[in-house]
């Protein structure tokens, strides 16, 4: 592992200057306090961020969020901006799970009213929403309908009756990226995805029932409809096998054509092509289609959760969508008058009150941002700040960030122990695999409160509310 000289600029961030390595085009800025910095320095995430800082057309700075950890190619928790005209686009800069993201639903229920049916509701969620690498026989799409999901995203789900106009308003990009082209998604990817809409998947994905534990910013909480004691549902998943296949297909293609563009990389997983090239445009169109699939996936899960909550609690159980944010995506955005392709891998958009893409009902407070904790720990709702535009291309972190490998986590704690500890805290757990439960143990992650505090103090986003877990269905 290579050590890079990092200059502490404040208590909250450090910078690796371009003099650290001859091929760096821009500096790297890492947002972290001393404790997180120590954890970040223990894996290869800094080396990966430096590799990203060498890509053609990279501009400004490469940012590492406080939850950053080693990924493949790009670090998870990394943000990089490429000039749209002269820079590259990299499938590895988005990741395999294209538009992995989080959405928060809020009910009119308080904890006392919810408690009696809570275990049954969580059980029903686990039975009704396929998890693990499962399929959804109730939404097995025809080729034509899958193409509509890829091209139209959540708008197609309006036609199916499982989305509302309000849902679309409260989803990043309205749940549809117009640059999507189903024709840019391979037959293999479509074969993997046709029966995966409405499924959680595996790994760290989940559906969690929570209670609003504390509110820090009442103006923003009021705007989001989040009040102390209210029951919420947080959904974390992405584009499933379809998105993985899109990434696999384009990493392979770009790895082969890079010599044509004179691109040489420190890590082949950073495979890329000029954004304006036929290959770059094809990837962007396919990635946007996979992103649409992911938004539709979270919407389909929302529909299932609404059925279950309404059945259990009547009209008070209706789940209103607060917002849905992507955290693995590349988007064309304007920053400082320049048109840039912003790669966010394990990083969330955090636009402030004055940004035109912040939904109108939230325009006075900033867009909602969700930072899930690990299982058993709190999750946070934050509000985007205008300052984030200059601090991080309008981005913030996406979670607590892994601190321990999956194998190490399993060696440290058994799944049975993790399950027992969660149940002792009063958290209902539904997970088919004890082994996977151990991999996602709270001890395997960084301290989410510390991560959120860095985000808040730096000004990337500000704390709005803390959500405490009551029941989790793990993928």
């Amino acid at each position: 592992m290579t050590a890079y000289p990092a200059i502490a600029r404040s208590a909250w961030f450090r910078e690796i200057p371009t003099t650290a390595r001859a091929d760096m085009r821009v500096p790297v800025r890492i947002y972290a306090d001393d404790v997180l910095w120590q954890q970040i320095s223990e894996d290869r995430s800094l080396e990966q961020a430096v590799n990203v800082a060498t890509l053609p057309g990279v501009t400004g700075q490469v940012y590492a969020m406080p939850d950053v950890h080693e990924g493949y190619g790009f670090p998870v928790g990394g943000v990089a901006a490429m000039e749209a005209e002269s820079g590259v686009i990299s499938p590895g800069g988005v990741g395999y799970d294209i538009n992995c993201g989080v959405r928060l639903l809020v009910s009119d229920l308080d904890l006392a009213a919810a408690r009696s049916h809570l275990e049954a509701a969580v059980h029903d969620l686990s039975r009704s929403i396929p998890s693990g690498p499962g399929r959804n026989p109730q939404l097995d799409l025809t080729t034509a309908d899958l193409d509509r999901v890829l091209d139209e995203g959540c708008e197609f789900l309006l036609d199916l009756g499982i989305a509302s106009p309000e849902d679309l308003r409260n989803t990043e990009a309205g749940g549809r990226l117009p640059a999507a082209r189903s024709a840019s998604v391979s037959p293999k990817a479509k074969q993997r995805g046709h029966n995966q809409l409405g499924t959680i998947g595996s790994g760290n994905h989940f559906v969690e029932v929570q209670v609003v534990d504390e509110v820090f910013d009442s103006a923003a909480a009021d705007a989001y409809g989040i009040h102390p004691g209210r029951i919420t549902v947080l959904i974390h998943t992405g584009s499933r096998g379809l998105g993985h296949q899109v990434c696999t297909d384009f990493v392979r293609q770009m790895d082969q054509i890079m010599p044509r563009y004179g691109i040489h990389l420190a890590d082949r997983q950073l495979a890329c092509a000029p954004f304006s090239s036929p290959e770059g445009r094809a990837y962007f169109a396919g990635m946007c289609a996979a992103a649409n699939f992911a938004w539709a996936n979270r919407q389909a899960i929302t529909s299932a959760a609404r059925r279950i909550f309404t059945r259990a609690y009547g009209t008070a159980g209706h789940l209103r969508l607060v917002y849905d944010v992507a955290h693995n995506i590349a988007k064309l955005e304007e920053h400082g008058g320049a048109r840039l392709c912003i790669h966010r891998k394990g990083a969330t958009r955090a636009f402030g009150p004055s940004h035109p893409e912040t939904p109108i009902p939230y325009r006075h407070v900033g867009q909602p941002v969700f930072i899930p904790g690990s299982m058993g720990t709190a999750s946070y709702v934050l509000a985007g700040n205008d300052a984030s535009m200059t601090l991080s291309f309008g981005s913030t972190c996406h979670g607590a960030g892994r601190a321990m490998s999956r194998g190490e986590a399993k060696r440290t704690r058994s799944g049975h122990e993790v399950r027992r500890e969660l149940e002792q805290q009063g958290i209902i757990v539904r997970c088919p695999s004890s082994s996977e439960l151990a991999e996602e143990a709270p001890t395997a992650y960084k301290d989410v409160e510390r991560v959120v505090d860095v985000v808040h103090h730096v000004g990337l986003a500000r704390k709005v509310a803390r959500l405490k877990p009551l029941g989790v269905v793990k993928g």
Partner: protein
């Protein structure tokens, strides 16, 4: 060199570490290592349905990744996990093989993709050694 493999820990993924005397044996052993990840300790009888697999790539390293990604695709699509491999032809840019495996009544595809991050295939005296990271 007797083919062998090891599953190594990586921050959030699994690294397959493989040694074998020839490229053909290396690819077969990599397939067995992947099956170990996919089956996650489940006891499955060998000798199930067989199928022909052909993969071509730009070089030896990419061939290893593309081979594993083809096996991952088949597992995700058909719940078919390849366990035994007869490599008919293997050169740096192409492999033709026949694989037998099992069809599961549960979804095996915990392995989601083989990546090029940290990818390495190097010559050793008497054989080859490779490392490839699997996204799980």
């Amino acid at each position: 060199m007797i083919p062998r493999h090891e599953l190594r820990r990586h921050t959030s993924e699994i690294e397959l570490h493989i040694q074998a005397g020839t490229l053909a044996d290396l690819l077969a052993e990599a397939g067995k290592a992947l099956a170990e990840v996919q089956l996650a300790g489940a006891d499955c009888a060998q000798g199930g349905p067989a199928r022909a697999i052909r993969v071509s790539s730009s070089d030896r390293e990419a061939l290893l990744v593309d081979w594993l990604n083809e096996l991952i695709f088949l597992a995700d699509l058909d719940r078919w996990v390849a366990m035994e491999f007869e490599i008919g032809h293997a050169e740096n840019t192409e492999v033709r093989a026949r694989a037998s495996g099992v069809i599961l009544d549960w979804a095996p595809s915990r392995a989601k993709a083989a990546t090029m991050h940290g990818l390495r295939v190097k010559d050793l005296p008497g054989g080859l050694e490779a490392s490839v990271i699997i996204d799980v």
